[in-house]
């Protein structure tokens, strides 16, 4: 944690007796080839077409497509839309990320029940994946090659961004964790898993450019909403609601931290 000079010195003194921080990054080298081989040919790409078909097909109680859904660039306009999310939407008077916006459209345009979608949004590992996962991937893929650059012109966008920053650093629960405990320094790992340094531009850019991603061990597409939920689970905190304001605020913070990066989805995560 950050502290003033006097205490930093005091802490350093006790840290020195607590154990030396050895260079523990060696394990990472043996992983690099494997990661590269997996990323080069990403099975996640197989879900893009599926998402496209779902977007244009007639679904839900109203037998409607999502072509009237406005992700911020106008109804059905997907080119570059994900690169500017989260953003403020006048019709809902809310700042929304891609998935919460998708939820709004599936309810309002297609007539689905909010609870039903949320229940199925995150697919079981080893399944064929959920509609929302495929849709989120397809829509984001239409911003591939474009730069992440969400707007901050509306007052609610600025509020959401600052709330996200606050939440990133907020510690609670029996592990005393906030996001920053794992994602506040460079070259850190939980066990063998690399942790992105999200308070640094480069680390945040990897977050902002690689979700939705194919998760090797789950064999399905995972989304940013899932990623956040899973972090809170591991932190021993209560369950983060899908598409909640807290999730949108954190995504807003991360996307702004990582702004300027070229979007390239699906990512590949172990």
């Amino acid at each position: 944690m950050r502290m003033n000079r006097g205490f930093a010195a005091a802490c350093l003194a006790c840290c020195a007796t607590w154990g030396t921080v050895a260079a523990q990054d060696k394990a990472g080298d043996g992983l690099a080839i494997g990661r590269q081989m997996l990323a080069e040919d990403n099975p996640g790409e197989l879900w893009i077409e599926q998402g496209k078909a779902l977007f244009h097909g007639l679904h839900g109680p109203r037998k409607a497509s999502l072509e009237r859904c406005d992700f911020g660039m106008g109804p059905g306009k997907l080119e570059g839309a994900a690169a500017q999310l989260p953003r403020y939407f006048a019709d809902t008077d809310k700042v929304q990320d891609l998935e919460s916006r998708l939820l709004t459209c599936m309810v309002q345009i297609q007539g689905f029940q909010h609870e039903d979608i949320v229940k199925r949004a995150v697919s079981p590992a080893g399944s064929n994946g959920s509609d929302v996962e495929a849709l989120a991937l397809y829509i984001t893929s239409r911003s591939n090659g474009m730069k992440m650059n969400p707007p901050l012109s509306h007052v609610k966008e600025r509020e959401t961004y600052k709330a996200g920053e606050y939440l990133f650093f907020r510690r609670s629960g029996q592990t005393d964790f906030g996001c920053v405990q794992c994602h506040g320094e460079a070259n850190k790992r939980i066990r063998l898993q690399d942790l992105l340094h999200m308070t640094d531009k480069k680390g945040a850019q990897e977050v902002a450019s690689t979700w939705p991603a194919y998760r090797g061990g789950h064999y399905v597409i995972r989304t940013m909403q899932w990623r956040l939920y899973d972090c809170f689970w591991q932190m021993r905190l209560p369950e983060l609601k899908y598409g909640s304001d807290t999730s949108i605020a954190l995504i807003s913070y991360l996307h702004h931290q990582g702004s300027g990066v070229m979007i390239k989805v699906p990512g590949f995560k172990r």
Binding site: G30, I33, G34, G126, I190, C231
Partner: protein, 154 residues
């Protein structure tokens, strides 16, 4: 991550049950190719696997390169590529020694295909991965250790 650990266990268990399924004749359908090397795929020990691949007196060869990570983050998806620079390479097999059934795949190569294959396999534990190459009627081998760790959290 528990899901990963569970899938390892299931994988190991699944392989265990496979011999029974095979013996009961459930493994194959009429549609399965005659070429499918049942004996090879059902061998449990490395020696039997090699025998059922028709290997005798294999030579260790430096002309075979195995590209795979030293450490795999996820035993469910271990990338393995094999390059054989041995002239007239006609077959490449990938064998994970400590898997319950070591033989993962056999590739018959012909008509101008290079001595190269790349795929991804499941591995239950840290093990040597063997490349068994048949060229000009002779067998050559190479191996590389891949360490498998159960994933961390999330």
């Amino acid at each position: 991550m528990n899901i990963v650990r569970r899938s390892f266990l299931k994988f190991a268990g699944g392989i265990g049950a496979l011999a029974a399924a095979g013996a009961a004749g459930l493994l194959h359908t009429a549609a399965a190719l005659a070429a499918w090397n049942k004996a090879g795929f059902e061998s449990k020990a490395l020696a039997d696997t090699l025998k059922n691949l028709g290997v005798s007196n294999p030579t260790e060869s430096r002309d075979i390169t195995i590209t795979a990570p030293d450490i795999a983050e996820n035993g469910a998806v271990v990338p393995v590529a094999v390059t054989s620079r041995i002239p007239d390479t006609e077959q490449i097999s990938i064998v994970a020694e400590k898997n319950p059934f070591p033989l993962a795949a056999t590739f018959d190569i012909g008509n101008g295909s290079e001595g190269y294959v790349s795929t991804r396999i499941k591995m239950g534990q840290t093990s040597d991965v063997w490349a068994v190459v048949k060229a000009g009627g002779k067998f050559f081998t190479a191996k590389k250790e891949v360490k498998i760790t159960v994933g961390g959290c999330g």
